[in-house]
Symmetry: C2
Subunit: 309 residues, 2 copies
């Protein structure tokens, strides 16, 4: 359906955005089912075939913490790497980075937090300690000419501390950039973000001269807010949006089955707004239905549910 491109209240929206597809990394680590490497590789290849240019593929964490991703090396080797496509991986520390470099990985991400409680629960260290841990990782990666995304989680509230001051987000963002991160992903993580808060955080980052095209947003649909928040981010000129095929994955602390914004729901909105992504909605729906068969549960995505027929 073509509902036309509409000038938006005088504010031009970006004509094109890049979706950072996080399904392969964020999905399996929150599922009890362990998918075979061949299925994971096919998943990544299907996402690229659908038109994605950035597919966060896996995480080089220690298998003790996330056994579902113990096959990270095998997965990277199993994927048919397509030219011009980025396959970032999460690395928590130098050991992870060395594994990634040995495999020829050209894009990494580090996963930080703006709140102390989540930092301790997720990384077992304070925010300061986590940034100290990331420093040599980012430096080494940058020396190797590799792009580094820095995740900032819990930017809009966390389940323990609740309100998170905007200056905390700005502080961690500034420090991550100082370490050498080339892109920041501003994360909702537990889905409590609402549009006014999103606007305030993004306005603060942009006013502080963090380049708008180096800021990604990462929203969770736990309370159904992901697309209203995305719309708010688009109005601020954000051009990188994280999403997960079929809404896979999310935060285990959020207390709900619904986590990441589903790529399909995002595509519906962007298509309606006339914003280009290069990603084919029907191929994404087909992929999510296919993967749901392997996971043994239906996708929570509204759009997948509506279009799966």
């Amino acid at each position: 359906m073509d509902f036309g491109v509409t000038p938006f209240d005088g504010v031009p929206l970006p004509p094109r955005v890049t979706i950072c597809e996080v399904g392969p990394r964020d999905g399996p680590q929150n599922e009890s089912a362990v998918l075979p490497v061949a299925v994971k590789a096919e998943f990544v290849e299907r996402l690229v075939d659908a038109g994605h240019t950035v597919v966060e593929t896996t995480s080089f964490v220690h298998p003790k913490w996330v056994p579902q991703l113990a096959d990270a090396d095998d997965l990277i080797r199993a994927i048919t790497i397509a030219p011009g496509i980025r396959y970032p991986v999460l690395v928590p520390n130098m050991a992870g980075l060395e594994r990634a470099l040995d495999l020829g990985v050209r894009d990494i991400a580090v996963f930080g937090s703006v709140t102390e409680t989540f930092s301790r629960r997720n990384l077992n260290r304070s925010v300061d300690e986590s940034l100290e841990m990331f420093a040599p990782v980012v430096a080494r990666a940058r020396e190797a000419g590799i792009r580094v995304r820095g995740y900032l989680s819990m930017c809009f509230g966390d389940p323990w501390k609740r309100e998170v001051p905007v200056r905390r987000v700005l502080d961690v963002a500034t420090r991550m950039r100082a370490l050498g991160c080339t892109e920041l992903s501003i994360g909702g993580t537990i889905g409590v973000a609402t549009p006014g808060r999103v606007e305030a955080v993004l306005a603060t980052l942009i006013t502080a001269a963090i380049p708008v095209d180096s800021i990604a947003v990462h929203f969770h649909d736990t309370y159904g807010e992901a697309l209203a928040n995305t719309l708010t981010a688009l109005r601020k000129g954000i051009v990188i949006i994280d999403a997960s095929a079929g809404g896979l994955g999310g935060c285990p602390y959020a207390g709900s089955a619904t986590g990441n914004l589903a790529t399909e729901d995002l595509l519906w909105q962007l298509y309606g707004l006339g914003i280009e992504t290069g990603v084919d909605l029907q191929k994404m729906v087909d992929t999510s239905v296919w993967l749901a068969g392997h996971l043994g549960r239906p996708s929570p995505s509204r759009t997948v549910t509506a279009l799966a027929g």
Copy 2:
């Protein structure tokens, strides 16, 4: 949680909105289970207890068409009417209006369409014929000093005709107002609306001097767009928003289990934006969980799922 009121990109949002709670009317007519009158009455009373001031209670359609609502008269008699609360009912024709008037109903709604195909499928007559049918109903109701809401369905696209020109919406809106409708509900109906389209339709109506405080919006969450569309409507100054407890009901032609915007999801967004509604979120969640027990299926609302625990 208090995430604070944030000035929104220079555009002030309304400090308070009225939710038109449509669950009792729109829910049962789309469920296979027929709820006992006592359960329906308790549902309405719970919604009022949660803080709702407008609860669309039932529909005086012929039982041949919607057998689930054959008990409309009994339900109106069963409810303990609270002072200051509005209990609108849907009436399709003069027979329905006379039933409503006999029962002391003080708020009615007529249900029209802006597209011919949906008009024929839903009302078995053309748009012109439906407006002719409504004319004496609205006139008689206005004579009796009763408020009349006019529903305009399929304002943002329909499953058959797809694109719906904005001028069609304006045309039917203008004619419904000329009949005497005191409020118009601009409906998505199948959930295909996206924010640019919503803005274009609302801007057209407001520019045509339809008072902004007489315009309600009615969005469906079929593709996850309801809250992004709601945000867009708030930015246009809309202060009446339709929602359904737990996301009950929707359009049988939409081809998905997900229909109306859930009141709980709406409340989460409005609370985060600092917009008053007078409706208690936890009481709504409790009510939707209670009703889900009677319906035998869980609520599709994201917020109910997250907060039901």
